[in-house]
Amino acid sequence: MSVIDARLAVEAMDARLGDPYSPSNACSWEQLCRNDESGERPHDAEAILKEIGAGEAFVPFELNGSLFQLDHLGSLVRAVFRRDPALGLGFGVTSLMAAATIWTAGTTEQKERAAKLLIDGGQIAVAFHELSHGNDFGANEVRALSSESGFRLTGNKAFINNADRAELIVIHARTSETPVGHSLFLLDRTKLSLPPSDYCNTVGVHGCRLSNISLEDTAVTGSALIGPLGMGNSVALRAFQVTRACLPSMAIGAVDTALRTTAEFAVDRRLYGFSVAELPYVQQSLAGVFADLVASDIFSSTAARLLHIEPNQGSLYSAAVKFLVPEILREDINILADVLGARFYLRNGKHSIFQKIMRDFPALVIGHAAQDVCEATLRAQLPVGVRIEDKPDEELQRAIFDWNVPLGPFDWTALQLGASGKSALFTALYTGIENHTSVDRELRAIFDELLDLSIWLRSTVMQMSPRERGLNGSALSSKATKVYARLLAASACINRSNVCRSGTQDPGSGLISSDAWLKIALYGILGYKRFLHTDLVEQLNPICYGEIYEELLSRLSLNTTFDSLATSMLPIYSNINNKIRV
């Protein structure tokens, strides 16, 4: 599937979600803010998603869904996150997490049941979290004792999204005291009588309903087991590589809207006789965030493509995306809040979607593998992550970065728990820089910095004692992990820039092929001055911000998105009945 097809799918989705500015539309920002204030689920917006079959996006093609390529899954669901992150989370993302475990290890019967439910617009809850153990789900205590007819489950799960309504529940439970002692089960709530539970009060994502699940000697048949007995953690950690790579890609949509709202404000607001947008710092802030969104899209889409192409390194790429992209996006929201001034704090009026995004965003990040957990996954595997290919396969490199190279359907069984082999993305940092044709002095200086950092990283990793790769790693190993994730992101951007410079007509390629974008994007990825040493790039030439700012204004006036696909938010789409295929 080409980039053009991916864009069409996104625009078809936006056409069906309707005008985001029209207050009478259930999927407009005004209406979704009103829903948020009421503390209710956005029933009308969910009804639209159900009607258009949005759940199909989570179901593999071979199970009658429309999921084909993981990079397109991220960009498609991003459209929902542009409307409202809570809508995306409430309607779908936790269902995707649950479903991922079924696509990875479920039986044909389980897969068909889950597929049908999602296609019909239903939800699957994913019940891992226990109050006493948080991220440490290897310590979870909900028990599944084997019985004559199957298993009997006892214990409590807390803060489970959609626990009150999901027809199916994927639950993580202890099946023995050994280290391989957890298993996954697919519960059919229509066959159980679960006691009602109070909703949890949350600061944001009011459109999501979190509650607890209490099981008391609840009987399930043996056919409820997902994957082999005792392999629950292994199945989950493989399946979640997909959601770790895709969720940040979707979350970009929330910051897209935060940027749009802030830019509209800056252009309209007049102070001291001129518009706020004329202030140089405001232009730089907006341009910087825009460049970050495109870079975050490229990094997460590249990782998603790599899950197809190089699944043996999936554990590294997915953790790197989940580790880095939310951090960049969170900083971006804070930068925008500064520009928005008092309005970032107001819960009514034209810009109120901003404060909602600001409250909702952290939930997207905490919910699924904390940043520290992803850091631990990366740190433990740094020696594997920095292995480079002596002779990189050109064909393979092209398939990673040229988004018009179609990928086969995603193979859920190819993912492995730990990374192995050599890293195509890390290797591509070197080939990408070598092949880049720009002679821009600042850009070449940043490239030199990246190469220096990679040399520092490789020698640090070689010298690091194995103990430092453990949970209580040192500050040095933590820095090495941060540098590693950032170099992977830089590699993705540089190589995507190369593809766009080679004359592809992909949308957004004008921006991505420019020196200005790549400089600002790399500068942002490197955490501004935090990871840069030289004075050369201390202050990037303001002209390059001006160039990006012009593109931002153009997208603002055309109502196109601030990611690499640059799709229309107000598409005129006649073929509304076509099936969306991702």
Binding site: R379, A380, Q416, G418, S465, R469
Partner: protein, 81 residues
């Protein structure tokens, strides 16, 4: 490579993860007794691949709980190549 050499290498590697003397690890005892966690198991896979040239799943540390058991698994993988 003999099982014994492999087992010694495993003991050395695990001791370095935990920063304890080699003499404290008994090659016949389950690694879980020494506080090996899932993060160490991930590290171990990478180190085994570096040393022996093939990928093993991190669940190896649970499927073959002692250094000797891991060593005999690795030795049989090596001899079947």
């Amino acid at each position: 490579m003999t099982e014994e050499i492999i087992s010694t290498w495993i003991v050395e590697t695990i001791a370095s993860y935990l920063d304890i003397p080699i003499s404290e690890i008994d090659a016949l005892q389950p690694l879980a007794n020494y506080g090996i966690d899932s993060v160490h198991a991930l590290s171990l896979c990478g180190d085994i691949e570096d040393k022996f040239g093939f990928y093993v799943d991190p669940t190896l540390a649970w499927d073959y709980p002692t250094p000797n058991a891991i060593a005999s698994f690795i030795a049989s993988r090596l001899s079947s190549r």
